[in-house]
């Protein structure tokens, strides 16, 4: 049972270490004495730092071992990789992702609201013979603006 689990966990940890989700230069960070090699001590320290102790490994194991037979089958492994990845993602990555989501949402809601001043502009007509200056209608007539394209 242990024989099944350890190689899988190690693979998962190594994949996680090498993945971009763990931030820049996983190797450089792990190689704390910068001698170009990660020895066992450095690896333990690096992994421990990233995982904040063994709670996350336990949680990772429980998440992987879906049928609770205290062994992770290949299917369970594949099924639950996403859970493992999300457990391993650093908090800053999640924060960055949330920020990106909020930004794209605000882009969709963007723009002017009722009651705001309409931006003034001057544009030529299609036939090129006249120019429309939005400011010229102020005090005279309301203006309907329809923006669009053929496609």
């Amino acid at each position: 049972m242990l024989n099944k689990v350890i190689p899988i966990l190690i693979t998962v940890l190594l994949i996680a270490i090498c993945s971009p989700a763990w931030g820049q230069g996983g190797f450089g960070e792990a190689d704390s004495n910068s001698d170009g090699k990660i020895d066992a001590k450095e690896l333990k320290k690096y992994v421990a730092n990233k995982l904040d102790g063994f709670d996350k490994i336990d949680a990772m194991f429980r998440a992987l071992d879906k049928d609770g037979d205290t062994g992770i089958s290949e299917d369970e492994f594949e099924d639950r990789m996403e859970v493992v990845r999300s457990l391993m993602r650093s908090r800053t990555d999640n924060a960055k992702r949330q920020q990106r989501r909020r930004r794209s949402q605000s882009q969709r809601d963007s723009g002017l609201k009722v009651g705001q001043e309409a931006p003034t502009f001057k544009l030529k007509s299609l036939d090129g013979k006249s120019e429309t200056d939005l400011a010229s209608f102020k005090g005279k007539k309301p203006v309907i603006l329809i923006f669009g394209s053929y496609s």
């Binding site: 969709r108 963007s110 723009g111 002017l112 609201k113 009722v114 009651g115 705001q116 001043e117 309409a118 931006p119 003034t120 502009f121 544009l123 030529k124 007509s125 299609l126 090129g128 429309t132 939005l134 400011a135 209608f137 102020k138 005090g139 005279k140 007539k141 309301p142 203006v143 309907i144 603006l145 329809i146 923006f147 669009g148 394209s149 053929y150 496609s151």
Partner: protein, 160 residues
């Protein structure tokens, strides 16, 4: 709408960059059929705009946004959007972008123009509610997604 209210308000179409050009990110079939591509220059934009006016028999005065897309950006107008500007320069209708917002914006504009032409007075802007947000006349519940052209074509033909 144009035919009904063109004496009461100024109407302007502003032709901006294509929503679904044949060589764009999300082309539509009729763009491919008609050879509507991303505008390389001002003349190309004018040509495509003219094609739209001709094909749809549109009579609304049409303006062409510069290749700097400045007015488009100022109004966050892409792919399509409708606004109503009061005589004091403020927006009475600022619909949501895209096909979902267009029909509600159109309907809000018609309502506004109806009221204006009957009473001669511009409807008041909505007051801020308790939370301090202004209600947006132009955005109701999203309509079912329709191609902007289809809904626009129908409304143009329906209300003249």
């Amino acid at each position: 709408m144009y035919q009904d209210y063109k004496d009461v308000a100024e109407f302007r179409m502003v032709y901006i960059n294509e929503a679904h050009a044949a060589d764009g990110r999300r082309p539509v079939n009729y763009a491919k059929e008609k050879g509507i591509t991303e505008h390389d220059n001002y003349d190309e934009r004018c040509t495509t705009a003219q094609m739209l006016l001709d094909d749809e028999s549109l009579t609304i005065p049409c303006l062409i946004d510069g290749m700097d897309n400045k007015v488009n950006q100022a109004y966050s107008a892409w792919p399509d959007r409708i606004f109503l500007v009061r005589t004091d320069g403020r927006l009475a209708v600022a619909a949501e972008r895209g096909p979902w917002g267009f029909k509600p914006g159109l309907e809000a504009s018609i309502q506004w123009l109806e009221s204006f032409s009957e009473s001669g007075k511009e409807p008041e802007l909505p007051q801020k509610n308790a939370k301090g947000d202004q209600t947006d006349e132009g955005s109701d519940q999203p309509e079912r997604r329709r191609r902007r052209n289809q809904s626009n074509r129908n409304d143009q033909k329906k209300s003249g």
